[in-house]
């Protein structure tokens, strides 16, 4: 016979006011196997835990049921309590009489009846609990950071500083990300490159950071502490060791294509460095546009290279590496504006996105920092800025607020006025959102000192008229429609996660929301962790945010990764599937339902009537199994059983409920 102890928590008045706990205890004492029932005002307090520990020893309890709040809240607490008294922690069960009972039912008699039933169910399950042992496994002391924008750079530096090896993987030929494209930053107007490039150099020279640019994630396997990742380092066609970064190759290259870094505002060569401060400062050959690779002629770069670094024969390298922790920092894209025909983007060169505006005012941009109209290279006089293009738009765009547009548009209005004192900025807005340190002051400065005309309304149509653009809008404060002649129209385009974020999420086994932002483990309390242990999130891949927030989050993600990497071993969850080989028929119906490839087949030899026989059975890899139980359900002979949630335990629960 079992010796089960039932501990009932009042949770102050949270449970005690709605459930008659005296009756619950009285009934509990009559349940099969129960030898003790006691209560405490707060079972999770030191006094409550002492009661549990002492009773386990005094009453020689072999199972413990705590009737309290949700197991998601305090299961771990009470497991530790039991362990401290020498009881296997997995012999503890929780009856959730707060969230599932006292808080949702008002009638005391009903709630008491239900609480008794919940305790009975937990007792029935506990009676069938088995002691389980958690395995220890070693942690690989190396981190992977995916994406080398400001978030990835910061995370890599923070992890590298503690002495752990970090691999920083970047898809494009250079690190720097979106921040490298920006001109100035709000609300301080310090130059983006001036604060970013030193960090990029730090990354390049850091002894613990290994840079993989022009590389992508090919496959991810494994689990927390032991991820096994395959990287594809794409062929640069340049020998990095030999290249001196002199730049003769791209001066001489005859093929020109739209430059991605310049948002298509200027041309780059087929062999190129994306921008002057690129790290590493090694060119790359864009094979799709290179004459050597498309037409098998030219080869000028190879001829002129003084270091003989050009190597047309290079091929993609697959690199396999083990990591203890992964930080995902893949950043953002802009929404596609094809759906928004009324703004005329793409139909006229003077209708541009804010990102393009950043390049036009940037000293290293296509115009050398002179803000000129793309159509005729003349200074603009009237510039119309339109907020919320694709943001807060549930019919054609994204329903969420992109968060940064109000502030960078104020910045653009200020930069415009500083460059051309006679110019005029018009800003069409729906709401101006300036929640942030010095943000409101900055916005007011744009209005009061720099004379930006803010019009509360949105634009219905933009169309060319002569060499100008006609803008039809509205000002809903004066209830007047507005017609404006503009030289330049700037669209504050909504941000979205990178187009292939969902695919990467699937590879990593981390969830994405309806807009493909990666989902944090808890919106308030675990904002930098993903649902998958050992994978952390930083920057705009998790939601729209500005630079300081991104840096803070990257630091947080790095701290979490460091805490994980500094452990020598981790404990595995022992609630994994278990095969009863004598029942297993080797049908392997379990194999295809396992999402973690934790099941394999193995051949066992057994003696039947004195004869040796070999047969096939399923085998579980405990380290890979995450304990979902899909295999236990799929198993026809009932050989597969998920420990902690066995068939016997769950059936006992059902029986106890329906008693």
């Amino acid at each position: 016979m079992r010796r089960i102890g039932v501990f009932v928590c009042w949770c102050g008045t949270n449970i005690g006011a709605t459930v008659d706990l005296e009756t619950v205890m009285e009934k509990a004492r009559q349940m099969p196997g129960v030898v003790f029932a006691g209560d405490n005002k707060y079972m999770c307090s030191e006094i409550g835990q002492t009661l549990i520990r002492d009773t386990i020893v005094q009453e020689r309890l072999d199972r413990v049921v705590v009737a309290s709040c949700s197991p998601r809240m305090h299961e771990l607490t009470f497991r530790k309590t039991a362990a401290a008294a020498g009881l296997n922690p997995y012999l503890v069960e929780i009856a959730n009489i707060r969230e599932h009972c006292s808080w949702v039912h008002k009638d005391k008699a009903e709630a008491t009846q239900k609480a008794i039933s919940l305790v009975r169910t937990a007792v029935a399950k506990a009676a069938r609990n088995k002691p389980l042992q958690a395995d220890q496994f070693a942690v690989t002391h190396r981190a992977l950071v995916i994406g080398a924008g400001i978030a990835g750079i910061q995370a890599a530096l923070d992890i590298g500083e503690t002495g752990f090896e970090v691999d920083l993987v970047e898809r494009t030929p250079s690190i720097g990300g979106r921040m490298a494209q920006l001109d100035k930053t709000f609300p301080t107007l310090d130059c983006s490159a001036c604060i970013l490039t030193p960090k990029m150099v730090d990354v390049a020279v850091h002894p613990k950071i290994n840079l993989y640019t022009y590389s992508e994630i090919e496959a991810v396997e494994g689990y927390v502490g032991n991820f096994e990742v395959t990287l594809r380092q794409k062929a640069r066609s340049i020998d990095k060791e030999k290249c001196t970064g002199c730049g003769i190759c791209y001066e001489k290259c005859p093929s020109k294509v739209d430059g991605e870094f310049e948002e298509g505002m200027s041309k780059r060569k087929a062999i190129y460095v994306p921008f002057p401060q690129a790290v590493p400062n090694v060119p790359v050959i864009d094979r799709e546009n290179c004459r050597w690779f498309t037409k098998e002629k030219c080869g000028v770069c190879k001829k002129v290279c003084p270091a003989d670094a050009v190597d047309f024969e290079q091929s993609d390298q697959l690199i396999k590496q083990k990591y203890g922790a992964i930080v995902v920092a893949t950043g953002f894209d802009l929404v596609d504006l094809d759906e928004f025909g009324e703004f005329g983007y793409g139909k006229h060169p003077d209708i541009i996105t804010s990102m393009e505006f950043e390049r036009l005012v940037n000293a290293s941009g296509p115009t050398g920092g002179k803000l000129l109209r793309p159509s005729n290279q003349e200074p603009p006089r009237n510039v119309v800025f339109i907020h919320c293009v694709g943001s807060r738009d549930k019919s054609r765009g994204k329903p969420y607020c992109s968060k940064i547009c109000c502030m960078y548009t104020a910045k653009h209005a200020i930069l415009l006025k500083e460059k051309y004192p006679k110019s005029q900025a018009y800003v069409f807005y729906i709401d101006v959102r300036t929640a942030g340190k010095e943000f409101e002051e900055f916005h007011r400065r744009a209005v009061e000192e720099y004379g930006a005309a803010y019009l509360r309304g949105i634009v219905g149509k933009v169309f060319p008229s002569g060499d100008k653009l006609l803008v039809n809008g509205v000002d809903t404060l004066s209830n007047q429609t507005v017609e404006l002649e503009a030289d330049l129209v700037v669209l504050a385009t909504a941000i979205t996660p990178r187009r292939d974020a969902a695919a990467l999420g699937r590879m990593l086994g981390i969830g994405t929301d309806g807009h493909n932002y990666f989902v944090e483990a808890h919106p308030k309390l675990r904002p930098v962790e993903s649902h998958t242990a050992g994978i952390f999130l930083a920057g705009t891949c998790q939601g729209p945010r500005d630079i300081p927030e991104t840096v803070a989050q990257a630091g947080g993600a790095a701290a979490k990764a460091i805490a994980l990497l500094s452990k020598e071993t981790l404990l595995s969850d022992p609630c994994v599937s278990n095969v009863n080989e004598s029942l297993c028929t080797g049908c392997l119906a379990c194999l295809p339902v396992c999402p973690y490839k934790a099941i394999s087949e193995k051949t066992i030899t057994e003696k039947v009537h004195g004869q040796e026989r070999r047969r096939l059975v399923a085998e579980i890899n405990n380290a890979l199994c995450q304990g979902c139980g899909a295999c236990s359900t799929a198993c026809r002979p009932g050989a597969m059983n998920l420990l902690g949630f066995t068939n016997e335990q769950l059936l006992a629960e059902v029986d106890a409920i329906c008693l």
């Binding site: 599932h100 139980g629 059936l651 409920i657």
Partner: protein, 145 residues
């Protein structure tokens, strides 16, 4: 006693299998938000909706449950990648089986309830209870005891 009165007095027993990551957390949230629903519902915590074997559901009906609800993460959001898809397939087959043996299909429901949908959890539980109150007790498959 009229049929209506009998139904009115009848308090159904409803067993809900909730996955730990979404629906059980959703039920917790219903508690945290004090969203009341009928006390007829008893929740069994499972790691994933794919852990719920048709056996458990049949056993519940056999032991006298008047309705069974299986709740899991929304399709695509499964904590274990694909568990709820297995559950969905499995239970669409089970539903037809239950119909075949004469159990009203209203007595077996599958729902996708995320960890943030406490109000949805409470609403579904209320809805199921109301429906079963009208439908009356489950007499099929029930053990003679």
């Amino acid at each position: 006693m009229s049929v209506v009165e009998e139904h009115h007095l009848f308090e159904p027993m409803i067993v809900a299998f909730c996955c730990n990551w979404c629906s059980y957390a959703g039920a917790d949230l219903a508690g945290t938000g004090r969203m009341s629903y009928p006390a007829n519902v008893r929740i069994v915590r499972v790691p994933c909706s794919s852990r719920v074997s048709p056996n458990f559901i049949l056993r519940a009906f056999q032991r006298g449950a008047d309705a069974v609800v299986v709740a899991g993460c929304h399709p695509g959001d499964c904590h274990y990648v694909s568990g709820n898809y297995h559950a969905r397939r499995r239970f669409s087959a089970l539903r037809r089986f239950l119909e075949f043996v004469g159990i009203e299909t209203e007595r077996f429901e599958i729902h996708w309830i995320s960890a943030s949908e406490g109000n949805k959890f409470a609403a579904i539980m209320k809805d199921v209870t109301d429906k079963i109150r009208v439908l009356g007790p489950n007499r099929k498959l029930r053990d003679v005891r």
